[in-house]
């Protein structure tokens, strides 16, 4: 599994935890602004992936995530990295957004078409096939893949973010990869596509 990312440290040598300390002591908005600047790109990219490329919606959820983080920073227990905690808040915010939309529409047909980051034509063949393979996954499987690969979290961190038992996350990853393997058979080693990966 991908290794955990190091705690972000800015040029002045302040780590995330130092900045959180300043917020807790003095309600320091500048320190919080630095945290937002530091994590906005990762979080917005992650949400864009989660929302299927809906830029407006993902930025709204990212903004809501940071505001929730500010409101609840006193409940941050340092048991996870700040970025992982943010992913957890963002995932919960995304889930409540999905629930709201389902309550309004009751089916996916009435959901607005997302403004996508990149069109099909801008993607490479592999990326397109990968995206299609991921479309065939259940929500739980897709979420596990997104957290573990695209957000670079360990299984344990993904379980924390998704609020699921560790075993469920591992099972979802295995099932997802099995399904994707079936769909992406053309990229398997030994096939004459030039795309196979074997060492």
């Amino acid at each position: 599994m991908p290794s955990a990312r190091r705690n972000a440290v800015d040029s002045a040598g302040f780590g995330d935890n130092d900045l959180i300390g300043r917020i807790l002591l003095r309600d320091d908005r500048n320190a919080f602004a630095e945290l937002v600047r530091r994590h906005q790109s990762q979080l917005r990219a992650s949400l864009r992936k989660m929302t299927g490329g809906n830029i407006e919606l993902s930025d709204d959820i990212a903004q809501e995530t940071f505001i929730l983080a500010w409101r609840n920073i006193r409940s941050f227990r340092y048991e996870a990295k700040f970025s992982t905690w943010l992913y957890r808040i963002a995932f919960n915010a995304w889930q409540s957004e999905v629930r709201k939309k389902h309550e309004l529409a009751m089916d996916d047909e009435n959901l607005p078409e997302p403004e996508t980051v990149s069109s099909e034509s801008e993607r490479t063949g592999i990326q397109r096939d990968l995206a299609r393979a991921m479309d065939g996954l259940t929500d739980g499987e897709r979420n596990a893949i997104l957290q573990c690969y695209y957000n670079d979290l360990s299984h344990e961190e993904a379980a924390y973010v998704l609020g699921l038992p560790l075993g469920t996350v591992k099972t979802n990853i295995l099932k997802a990869k099995e399904k994707m393997r079936a769909k992406l058979g053309a990229y398997a080693p030994g096939r004459d596509t030039g795309q196979g990966v074997a060492a």
Binding site: P2, D27, R29, F32, A33, V36, R37, Q40, S41, Q42, R44, A45, K49, D59, A62, Q63, F66, I67, L68, W70, R71, N72, I73, R74, S75, R88, I89, N92, I126, Q127, L130, I145, Y149, Y150, D152, K177, M180, R181, L184, Y187, A188, P189, G196, V197, A198, A199
Partner: protein, 110 residues
């Protein structure tokens, strides 16, 4: 030794790496977040829970003293069961309502 890597794993890792390498420009995002932050100092979750809980408890004691002491709860439940909205019943409903609101607020805390 020849190790066959999982092609799906390799594809996902490669795609995830290119995805993580992209940088989304701030373009005023941080400013918008800071502008939208709630004003004033925030109250810790423990205090946020303790204050209404404390007031509710005090109110319950006061109501219990004025509405028949030991029999307050029994009287209130009996009155509610017989649709008699006495002072005890009203106070009991109010206290339960406040406790429920406090619980919801505490439960929504991340």
């Amino acid at each position: 030794m020849n190790i066959i890597k999982d092609p799906v794993d390799e594809l996902l890792k490669a795609d995830a790496t290119s995805y993580r390498d992209q940088h989304i420009d701030d373009a005023g995002f941080t400013l918008r977040v800071i502008d939208d932050l709630p004003a004033g100092s925030r109250i810790s979750p423990a205090i946020r829970f303790a204050v209404p809980f404390g007031f509710t408890l005090m109110a319950a004691i006061v109501v219990a003293l004025f509405a028949g002491g030991d029999n307050f709860m029994v009287d209130a439940v009996m009155d509610i069961a017989t649709s008699n909205m006495s002072k005890s019943a009203f106070a009991f409903v109010a206290i339960v309502g406040i406790m429920m609101v406090v619980s919801v607020v505490a439960a929504n805390d991340y």
